[in-house]
């Protein structure tokens, strides 16, 4: 029997198991609520309405990917090894290489859903922040109601069928966010408030609001960040083979920070110093995936660039996964 048939059940089980961790639901909800809250939390616009909200949202999505990658990878690998379920599975007809790839793909599938949810929230939040000092409640209220509705739905499903609350809420949240986004597309209206001078007094007057367009250019920027998230995921999986949650988080955060600063720390020295040149090429360079500035400057990001960034991410991820496979192949599973 080939171990090919046992591959997809393992991917599917990983997809089922990861959202059942309360931490995943908590992180996802926090991210959505926080990004949704940015339009009324940020009270500066620095010359362009929405810029700060957009930049902060993308930064939160990036950081959220790191925070999600670590518990997911640890649950998929180190917890399984510690709990003994990895040993039980590896006693079945599945090779270690397929086990690890299945785990990576399962975790990445959840990461993709997470990124999708973050992208939709950023698109909604960006529209809500289009007018300085006047958050678009017509976008934000459906968003927050949607989050609440997902939890109520999950509770009802849990009550009626006994399905685990955390994963049900996670999937409900994903579905409801799509509906909320479609709702805001279908009903983009709102009221526009203008300040008008009447004699000595200034009055706020409400008019039928202008339709705020969706800034679709955000999607390629989010897609690039998702590629970076897959890299972080591979890195987390590599560390999770040997380490627990906290050391894995520390190591991944180290790589995250060094990768963010590699242009500053290494690129300048790369011309003169061999070690700096080697390290500059080996370290993940997250700047390739940070396109918020491009959005501000040019207003759009070409998909061809995202393709190049995805190629870089794929190359780097494959390298890390090969390293992880080599490590796992000789590893003892007790």
């Amino acid at each position: 029997m080939s171990d090919r048939s046992s591959f997809f059940p393992l991917v599917r089980l990983t997809c089922v198991e990861i959202p059942r961790q309360p931490a995943v639901l908590l992180l996802t909800t926090t991210l959505i609520v926080f990004i949704g809250a940015l339009p009324f939390l940020i009270t500066h616009n620095l010359g362009e309405p929405g810029k700060l909200v957009r930049d902060s949202s993308l930064a939160m999505m990036f950081l959220g990917s790191l925070l999600l990658a670590v518990p997911s990878a640890c649950n998929a690998v180190s917890s399984e090894i510690r709990r003994g379920t990895a040993g039980a599975i590896l006693s079945k007809p599945i090779s270690r290489m397929r086990f690890l790839i299945a785990k990576y793909l399962g975790v990445s599938a959840i990461m993709l859903v997470f990124s999708g949810m973050a992208t939709l929230t950023i698109l909604i939040s960006d529209r809500a922040a289009a007018r300085a000092f006047h958050p678009g409640w017509n976008f934000l209220i459906p968003l927050f109601l949607g989050v609440g509705l997902s939890y109520v739905l999950a509770a009802l499903i849990n009550f009626a069928t006994g399905r685990p609350f955390a994963s049900t809420a996670f999937w409900c949240l994903a579905a409801v966010l799509i509906l909320v986004f479609l709702w805001t597309l279908a009903f983009p209206g709102g009221k526009e408030v203008r300040h008008e001078q009447h004699g000595d007094h200034t009055h706020e007057v409400e008019y039928a609001g202008q339709v705020v367009p969706v800034r679709w250019e955000i999607i390629p920027a989010c897609a690039a960040l998702t590629c970076a998230a897959f890299m972080i995921q591979a890195l987390a999986l590599l560390f999770a083979l040997r380490l627990g949650v906290v050391p894995t988080l520390s190591a991944c955060t180290g790589f995250f920070l060094l990768g963010l600063m590699s242009d500053y720390l290494l690129a300048r020295r790369a011309a003169d110093l061999i070690w700096a040149r080697v390290l500059y090429h080996v370290m993940p360079n997250w700047q390739h995936f940070w396109l918020a500035d491009a959005l501000t400057a040019g207003g759009s990001v070409p998909w061809a660039y995202v393709g190049h960034a995805a190629g870089y991410a794929l190359f780097w991820t494959l390298g890390i996964l090969l390293l992880a496979m080599g490590l796992f192949d000789r590893m003892e599973v007790r």
Partner: protein
């Protein structure tokens, strides 16, 4: 026709656990030789830490031997083809806590490539066999230890394996469950399956095993057919049916004349397990089922 090649073969098997710096920390297995014939029930006996589970994990390819030779079903233990013919019940029931019993078996069945009606039939039969058919959507994380062992046993048999490796199979089970596991082991052996059973519960091993190896400190201390190992050449036992008092006295007097001393005589006793099973069976007839597991069914149809 059965192959004469051993199902499990180890020669001088060694396993040393090392620390982070690769320095030897403990010699868990030290030169173990095993050879399991097809269709036999083989017991690995020993106190905690004697090397039983380590040996099993080497046989499953989970640990790498540091010395010696290992072959399972004629191949290296990490071979995927080998694993498709092996069923393994780990020492602890390592299960995904959020899955229910049926989902758990469905997952393990899928790992063996079982699909559709065949898979569902096997799951139904195994759940009936281990007395968990009624647990519905209850998650295995909420199961008692005994129930978890039962679902663990079911997953070990889902692929109708040629070699069944059971690590402490009766740990955490009540006497009814223990009896059932022993019956399943005996039934599987009759069907020609080879069973390697590790336990420190001597009565369980004695009841079902054909041959045993006793380990201590990672070394083989005794090995052979269980009847030969338990036989005491200088002590004999005479079994008699019901005797009237006068006949008994007559027999004792005659024996005293031959032996020179009066031998001890006492009525035959049932063992505690037999008594317990009789009492519970009687109680079940009177009061019906309790909570938890239900009375187990027959050996699963596909295993018969």
């Amino acid at each position: 026709m059965m192959s004469e090649e051993p199902i499990v073969y180890t020669q001088g098997l060694q396993k040393i656990f090392k620390d982070f710096w690769r320095r030897p920390r403990a010699r868990a297995v030290d030169g173990i030789d095993l050879s399991l014939k097809p269709g036999e029930v083989y017991g690995l006996l020993g106190p905690n830490g004697s090397g039983k589970s380590t040996t099993i994990k080497v046989l499953l390819g989970l640990l790498h031997p540091d010395g010696g030779e290992v072959r399972v079903l004629g191949r290296p233990p990490r071979d995927v083809q080998v694993k498709s013919r092996v069923g393994y019940l780990p020492e602890e029931s390592y299960l995904y806590p959020y899955l229910d019993a049926r989902e758990t078996l469905r997952f393990y069945a899928a790992l063996f490539g079982l699909k559709g009606e065949l898979r569902e039939q096997r799951i139904d039969q195994l759940l009936d066999m281990v007395g968990l058919a009624h647990t519905g959507r209850r998650r295995v994380g909420e199961f008692s230890k005994g129930m978890a062992r039962r679902i663990g046993l079911a997953q070990a048999l889902i692929n109708d394996p040629d070699l069944v490796i059971l690590d402490e199979p009766t740990s955490g089970l009540d006497p009814l469950g223990t009896r059932q596991v022993k019956d399943i082991v005996s039934a599987l052996a009759k069907r020609g399956k080879t069973i390697l059973l590790s336990s420190h519960l001597l009565a369980d091993v004695e009841d079902v095993c054909d041959r045993v190896t006793i380990l201590y400190g990672g070394k083989v201390r005794a090995s052979g057919p269980i009847r030969e190992l338990l036989q005491m050449a200088n002590n004999l036992q005479i079994k008699l049916g019901d005797l009237p008092d006068e006949k008994r006295e007559e027999l004792l007097t005659a024996l005293e004349g031959v032996l020179g001393t009066r031998p001890d005589i006492e009525p035959t006793r049932r063992d505690l397990e037999t008594l317990f099973l009789e009492v519970v069976a009687q109680a079940r007839r009177e009061t019906g089922e309790g909570s938890g597991t239900r009375e187990e069914g027959e050996l699963a149809g596909f295993l018969q």
